[in-house]
Every structure is written in structure tokens, then in C-alpha cells.
Amino acid sequence: MIGHRPPGVSPWVYLDASPAPIDSTVALPAMSREPVRVEAFVREHHAFVWRVLRRSGLAPADADDAAQRVFITAAARLDIIAPGSERAFLYRAAARVASNAHRAARRRRETSGLEESDEPADLSAPDDLLDQRRARALLDRVLGELSEDLRAIIILFEIEGFRSSEIAEALGIPTGTVASRLRRARVEVEQRVARYRDRQPQRRGLP
């Protein structure tokens, strides 16, 4: 049945397994047979994928590019993604693509010898809720300091609202591990945010 994977097989196995070389004579089933379905899939999940890429450290335009890669991968695999497992699959794909992008960037820095200009993050605590860009800059800085495991938990649970079971599937961990990892991740984030906040000598706008 289309869309079913054998029970007990995580969706991400298909992502990790090296695919048979895809050449132009092998019609990618979903794309050519079911354009409607592919389009619906992209529309439904694009914002989610993009946000994950952003929180994985990609600038907005880079996230645009990376999202393309994610969806090309996913569209090719549409038939084996079980219904209900789409976001788990997409998260894995996005994490991969982001990781590759970072790795490539590091290689470029190493080979070119050029310093990447890290845009100086304004880390002063946002005084007003409207200053969302600064808030995200701080969040991304903090998330970037976490291990990938802990970052994933914060992204999926706190930001994207995954259930524990979804997270377990997405990350390939037992459900019980989700809770303990979440606790650790929260502590890390809260501590770091407090540290950044306390660094700022004064808060803007206060009398």
C-alpha cells in the first residue's frame, strides 16, 4: 500500500540509507504521477521546514535554498513516508541539509581563508515583544551553543509543538529519553538566556 512502510522501520532509515543512483530514466513516482499530491505536500509543510532550517542556523535566504533541497528529497520519497510521519521525515531531512550547509561553509572558510563576517548579534534582551528579530537572533545564538540533540528537542517540542511520540520517531530515540532530554535542554537554554541578559549593562528604554 502506498505510503506504508513496514512496521518497526523508522522513516529516517530511508533517508539515511544511500539511495540507488537516481537517473533521469527512473521516473520519480510522486512527482510525475501525482503532482497534485506533491504540491499539497510542499504547501502543507514548507513553513515548518523553513522554520526548522532557520533554527538550525541558516540565514533566511539560505533557508530558502535549503528548503528546496529538503523537498526534492522528500518528494522523491513520498511513497514511502507513512501518513502521520511526514514531519518526522522532514525534520530529519532538514537537519541533514542544514548540517551539510554548515559543513560546506566551514570548508569554504578553511580553503578560502576568508573570515566569515558573523553579523554581530544584538543580544540585548528584547524589551518589547515586537522586536522579534532580535529575539530570534538571541535564540539562534543560544540554540547554536547546544548540542544537536538538545537543540532538536527545543525546536521540535517547544517551537514546533511535536508530541513526545513524534519527537521519538523523528530523532530515533525512546519516548522516555525525550522527557529527560527536554529537561536538560530547557535548563541549558534558560541558563544561557539568563547569562546573555545579565551581561547587558542596561536595558534600553527604561528610565
Partner: protein, 282 residues
């Protein structure tokens, strides 16, 4: 096992709560969605992306049993096939969608897929229509000699008309660009019209290149760049310029475009082609 409570539900530290809310509020631009759609070979639609996503229902719908509303841009429309970073060029039958048809027509040839899943395994997974030698470090390069089967590129229509992407010369990541608005995707009809016009414009260039008319493509690109100062399709425009110049033997310009692509859009789908152009035209 009961679900843990989320930060937002249980009174996280105020600062932390602000960060989470800010993250949840961030939206990609409508251009971004259009580019992903184009990358998988689906027709580009103007706006109403949120509405359409809801209308589309679940991804489990098969074969058109679910009615999906897909707005189209005028009658001029073509599919772009993803290529470039995915392994050289692919000659794809581009099908013009009939003006009145609400259904996208799939390209007649399959698309290359699979972004590289492991570092280092770059584009060797994909063989293009033109059997191309695979260099160990560079992507397989389709010969640029053939106007017969010119490369297709993914057109991404895009953009927040109010947010150009800054180009940073000198390599490295560009500073985070304001490409994506912080608020909801453009839903005003004016933005949709701009997007539609931009798609049409860049598509003229693509079509010219596809038809084996690189000089015409360059002319169309000039039109595009003159009219659309804030370019959502900047990577695609650079890509088309690179390919057109390479076809015309304007090596220096092709190289310049390739270098700019690599420097400014390191994660685009066109990086493999850019590297190929550089390696073939030292």
C-alpha cells in the same frame, strides 16, 4: 506517560517565552514557498499559499480525489526542473500549462532528486541526460556546448518585493537577509501581481535559454534586472546569465556569474553547475 508541559503552557521565564514566540511567528516569504514548489517541478502559484495549503487537505490524497485549488499566474506558465546542484543538466520537456487549466502538468521527463545526503557524496548520485564525466571533486558537468538541449533551471519566483538579498562579495555567508518578512506571507493582490510579473519576466529568460537562444536570454535578463530591482530570483538570474554567457563563449562573464553564485548563494541548487563552469573555463 503524560506529556510534559510546554514552556508556553507553564510559564517559562519571560525572556525565554519571548524567544519562543518570536520563533513561532517567523514566516518564510511567499517567494520561498514558490521556489520549493518549483524545485519539485510543481507549477508556481502566486499567493494564497496558506489558504491553498488548507484547501489541499492531507498529503494522503491520491490522484486528484481531493479537490485542490491552485491559483495560477496568468496563462504563461512553465515548469522548471531542478538541476544545477543535483548533477548537471537535464533536458526536460517543458510543458506550458494551458491558460484555463487548473491542473499542473508534470514534466515529461523525470526530475533529478535527492539532495546530497552525506557530505562528500555530492552529485555523483544523479546522472544527467548527457552522460557527463564525474570529476572526483567537482560535480558532473554537462557540456555547455549544446544549445540543442540547454539546461533548465529552477525558476523560483519569488519574493518579497520589499526585501532584496544583499550580495556579499568576498565569500562566506551573506549576512542574514531581510528576504523573509517577519509577518505573514504577502497576501495582498499587489504583491501577488508583482510576483506574477516577476515570474513571467524571469521565465522569458529561461525559455529563451531553453530554446537555444542564449543571446535572447541575456536580453530578457537585462529586462528582468532593470524592472525588478529587488530580485527574488537573484540566484536563478545569475544561473541563467552564467549558462547563457557560457553558451555564447563569453567566458569571463560566465566565470564572473559563477563566482558570484558560489559566493552569494552557497546553498542554492546551482552551485554544482557554477563549479562546473569554473572548472571547464579556467
Amino acid at each position: 506517560m503524560s506529556e510534559p508541559k510546554r514552556w508556553l503552557d507553564q510559564g517559562a521565564p519571560r525572556d525565554v517565552e519571548q524567544l519562543v514566540r518570536a520563533a513561532q511567528a517567523e514566516r518564510p516569504g511567499s517567494a520561498s514557498l514558490a521556489r520549493s514548489l518549483a524545485a519539485v517541478g510543481v507549477g508556481i502559484a502566486a499567493t494564497g499559499v496558506v489558504a491553498s495549503a488548507k484547501a489541499a487537505g492531507t498529503a494522503a490524497s491520491v490522484g486528484g480525489t481531493t479537490k485542490v485549488t491552485m491559483p495560477f499566474i496568468g496563462g504563461v506558465f512553465a515548469k522548471w526542473a531542478a538541476l544545477g546542484a543535483l548533477g548537471g543538466t537535464l533536458a526536460v520537456g517543458i510543458v506550458e500549462v494551458a491558460t484555463e487549466s487548473p491542473r499542473p502538468v508534470a514534466p515529461s521527463l523525470s526530475l533529478p532528486a535527492s539532495a546530497p545526503l552525506r557530505p562528500g557524496r555530492v552529485q555523483s548520485d544523479v546522472s544527467s541526460m548527457h552522460a557527463a564525466p564525474t570529476a572526483p571533486s567537482a560535480a558532473p558537468a554537462a557540456p555547455a556546448e549544446g544549445p540543442a538541449a540547454p539546461p533548465e533551471s529552477t525558476a523560483m519566483a519569488t519574493a518579497a518585493p520589499n526585501a532584496p538579498r544583499p550580495v556579499t562579495p568576498g565569500g562566506g555567508h551573506a549576512a542574514p537577509s531581510p528576504t523573509s518578512p517577519d509577518s505573514a506571507p504577502a497576501s495582498s493582490s499587489r504583491d501577488a501581481d508583482t510576483l506574477a510579473a516577476e515570474v513571467k519576466s524571469i521565465d522569458r529568460a529561461r525559455a529563451a535559454l531553453a530554446a537555444g537562444k542564449p543571446a535572447q536570454a541575456l536580453g530578457a535578463l537585462e529586462d528582468y534586472e532593470r524592472v525588478f530591482r529587488k530580485r527574488g530570483f537573484a540566484p536563478e538570474a545569475l544561473y541563467l546569465r552564467m549558462e547563457a554567457c557560457a553558451s555564447l563563449g563569453r567566458t569571463a562573464e560566465a566565470r564572473a556569474a559563477a563566482e558570484r553564485l558560489l559566493a552569494s548563494y552557497p546553498n542554492s541548487l546551482h552551485t554544482a553547475r557554477a563549479r562546473a563552469v569554473l572548472s571547464k573555463n579556467p
